[in-house]
């Protein structure tokens, strides 16, 4: 049985391969960018409030910091308790033009030993977990200079 590919959160990212992008929103009045997306109101206290328009975020950024999760996180993170825990890496990435830092998991196989603060990374499509019917998709950060 083939699984349906479903984003873990609706509307946060879209596209395939090189066209994969995180999706935020931008206020038409003050140009503030929001990720996760704000669709109801602009959070800039000095803004009279404009229309919030979906906007793709820059695919490339630089590592602001990084860490890993050596222990199994609690629910609602989904893991298979039957399997031994495999740590994964988290990267906080600064996007230059949006001047925002976005957290994400690193692409599988990337460890903290592969990373330095300031290194360039690119957003790539990834899989968070799978259950019987669904492949839950997400975004990953991939260092541009490191093979996955």
């Amino acid at each position: 049985m083939s699984r349906t590919r479903t984003p873990v959160v609706t509307g946060w990212f879209a596209g395939e391969g090189d066209d994969f992008r995180l999706l935020g929103t931008r206020c038409s009045a003050c140009t503030s960018v929001f990720f996760p997306r704000e669709d109801a109101f602009c959070r800039n206290p000095g803004c009279p409030g404009g229309e919030l328009v979906e906007v793709p975020l820059s695919p490339r950024g630089r590592v602001w910091s990084y860490t890993d999760s050596r222990y199994r996180p609690p629910s609602p993170y989904v893991t298979d308790p039957e399997l031994s825990w495999e740590p994964y890496t988290l990267i906080a990435v600064e996007l230059e033009s949006e001047r925002i830092v976005v957290l994400g998991q690193a692409a599988p196989g990337i460890t903290v030993a592969d990373l330095t603060v300031g290194m360039e990374v690119v957003v790539v499509p990834g899989v968070l977990n799978e259950d019987a019917e669904t492949t839950w998709t997400t975004w990953h950060w991939q260092p541009t200079g490191v093979a996955a």
Partner: protein, 396 residues
Amino acid sequence: MTGEVAVLGVGMHPWGKWGRGFVEYGVTAARTALADAGIDWRDIGSIVGADTVRGGYPGYVAGATFAKALGWQGARVASVYAACASGAQALNTARAQILAGLADVVLVVGADAAPKGFFRPAGGDRPDDPDWLRFRVLGATNPTYFGLYARRRMALYADTLEDFAQVKVKNAALGALNPHARYRKKVTAEEVAGSAVVADPLRLLDICATSDGGAAVVLSSMDFARRHGAAGPVRIRAVSTVTPSYPNTVLDLPDIATDSAAAVRPADGTFRASIARAAYEEAGIGPEDLSLAEVYDLSTALELQWYEDLGLCGEGEAVKLLREGATSLGGRIPVNVSGGLASFGEAVPAQAIAQVCELTWQLRGSAGDRQVAGARVGITANQGLFGHGSSVVAVR
């Protein structure tokens, strides 16, 4: 200046993993504080509870729960939720009632029975909650955020793992002197280095545990304190409970991203620094006036961050301050002489109240082996989820 309130009494239930309910810890702390104040519970005009938390949400109506357990006596009641800053906001609610003339003497209580393992969000499928989302989408536990901050300091300021370990060594040695602390054993740098990595670069002994505990304070108006015969009580001179300024450019718990600074220039200084700045301004003092500080060392590296956010030293200079011994007992500005969260573990709604208990004992000169000589002015600092933080200035 806002006006001062008197700290008539303080009390704590020791921190630990006692396997009992939070009400019992809170009542023990409350009765101890009332006895310390020499006030009968039936003479308390108002009770403020810091809400007990399960992964980000008030699980119980704390003020009324404690009032019922102590015996209903008709007092005004309030319950406060502000994540890790709940205790300080409860103190501030009490202070505001006193300064507004709504109550003469107020009991503030916070207590928690912490769950085993990582804090986690409340159950259910709740994609509209940022705290739920960071666990579902990223598995980002609290220690992973501490790991990000620690690594960032290593990259920016060349802090080392050995520096982080020295914070634990300092705090464990002080906690060993504190009968209310959960961990009362000295720790060596080798033991820190030998403990398991939880969230690179931080190890188990770099990260504070979650604990059971309870803390309570009896506050009154200065007039009431005089009538009560409390000569020269410790006074609370400032309670800062400010929120961040947009755009908040530090990745704070439980957020997946910062605000964007593309359209609006960020304010000078971080949210954490603004928490302390507001306390200094309200108290009319500066960092040079401090005798001691109790800061929220959720991790060893975060204690160093607070040195800078409190203005005890310049940006990137925290390790220098630590290495000089300035923040040790006997140093220029001792930090976390209680032993800090490193020795207590975090009992969320009680912790910011416990910080004020320590300031009170220090300012009274009754802190025993961990006494800061001649302590006159103390500050607390803390930060929690969802844009909450606090700083309390107490003087004598």
